[in-house]
């Protein structure tokens, strides 16, 4: 089926009318399909959706996020995950099932200000998301540079099947841990590579809405990497 060119839309704007399915960030009003957010409309295969250009992070099950420990009670830590919701990390996730609030010292494992790579285990919008740090590539982050971008631009940073981020990683010799909540940790042994990677990420954040971004980033990465 034909697909229309992407268009900038604002809330309330009619994207199209006719026999289309209203998908992400759109509603059907009579015949018309109307956007509910600021973004790029995408009419494709009989469905209409809007790719957001702004907005915060809403947790989703199985998302990898980067969080900052802000406090703890006797049973769980609270992590700032760059969202209107805070992440709840139960103490038993770190200490195991036989956790005892009297004998185990929670701050010895994770203190205020520590950064963690975590996964959203369970979230249903009625209570704060449950997160875990047990698993591959999860846990406390000890080194690297924290970079914050808009959560909406994370898919653009990753690129199709990870093409964009792989390009950045390989050409700057760095490793990037991407949280779906817009927080990234960039680490590299080479300080120039680290700076370059951060510059590339900032470029993507700034230019996420334009076409042929990949070429621009490629040019930028090659330009100063003699």
């Amino acid at each position: 089926m034909s697909s229309e060119r992407k268009r900038h839309v604002i809330p309330g704007e009619v994207i199209t009318s006719g026999p289309y399915r209203a998908e992400q960030n759109t509603v059907q009003v009579g015949e018309n399909i109307v956007s509910t957010i600021v973004g790029l409309s995408d009419v494709h295969d009989g469905s209409v959706r809007v790719i957001p250009l702004t907005g915060g992070y809403v947790p989703k099950d199985d998302d990898l996020v980067i969080g900052k420990i802000v406090s703890h009670s006797s049973l769980s830590w609270t992590a700032d995950i760059n969202s209107c919701y805070v992440g709840m990390l139960p103490a038993s996730d770190v200490f195991g099932r036989d956790y005892s609030s009297s004998s185990d010292d929670m701050t010895a494992k994770l203190a205020k200000g520590d950064l963690i790579a975590a996964r959203i285990v369970n979230f249903d919008k009625t209570r704060d998301p449950l997160i875990t740090i047990s698993g591959r590539e999860l846990g406390k982050i000890d080194s690297g540079e924290l970079v914050k971008i808009s959560p909406n631009k994370v898919p653009r940073l990753i690129g199709k099947r990870g093409s964009m981020i792989q390009m950045i990683e390989s050409s700057t010799n760095s490793q990037v841990t991407i949280g779906q909540n817009g927080l990234l940790v960039v680490s590299s042994d080479d300080p120039n590579g680290l700076l370059k990677a951060i510059q590339a990420i900032e470029l993507i954040e700034e230019q996420a809405h334009v076409a042929n971004l990949t070429d621009q980033v490629k040019e930028m990465l090659e330009s100063k990497s003699e």
Binding site: K68, V70, D80, A111, K112, G113, D114, L115, I141, S143, G144, E145, L146, V185
Partner: protein, 268 residues
Amino acid sequence: MSDGLIIDQLKRNQILDLLKEGKRVDGREFDESRQLTIDLNVIPKAEGSARARLGDTEVVAGVKIQPERPFPDTGDKGMLICTAEILPIAHPSAETGPPTPDVVELARVTDRGIRESGMLDMKQLVLEKDKSVIGIFCDNAVTDHDGNLFDACSYASTAAINSCKIPKYEMQDDAPVKVEDQFTEPPVTTLPVSVTMAKIGEYILVDPTIDEWSIMDARITITTNSDGNVVALQKGGHDGFTAEELIKCSEMSIKAGAKIREIIKQTK
């Protein structure tokens, strides 16, 4: 304010590692303030106003002037009151509602610097002794918070008061009456400039950013006047300063303050 802010461990280590090499995260010298720019008369309806930008910290100060009944013990002096408020747009941690202790401190330190320096000759602001005096109210609104609000508020207030126009009042039947379209210059005698320094470990940094602010052990705000004399001082944080450190801080505040004073002078 930012005292309750939690900085992530990576940033903290980065700042501490750089300090050991004698550097700061934004590349400044230890005794160097951020770039200060001041725009005057940003509020058309106020008698005086200024917007001060100290790096990414931004404060708007407005001066309102009106006749007041003097306090019983200071019937021969005008009235000066400085307030401060952190607007919710300034920082995610800022909330509306009654002022927190940090904000109360901010207002008091700003007020004290101007008051104790004797910036204005208050005796010239009397309309009739014990009956009516001119009241100068300087309100500071923090619109962007990147640390060191003390100094930003001090600079904005000083610039706003320094450039204000005092409407002329005359006493008629024991009541002050405004004389339309007649203004006088404020009786400015000196320009107070506050300089806040943060102590992180053994290092003392002038004009800390919000990141440096959130990891500092102690802070001290020293206000100096145009003659380079210390006129007010406020210390905060849980750590202390040694006698040598205090001397060093006061020297730094005089040196850094002189540069700032020139900027405030030039913007009039």
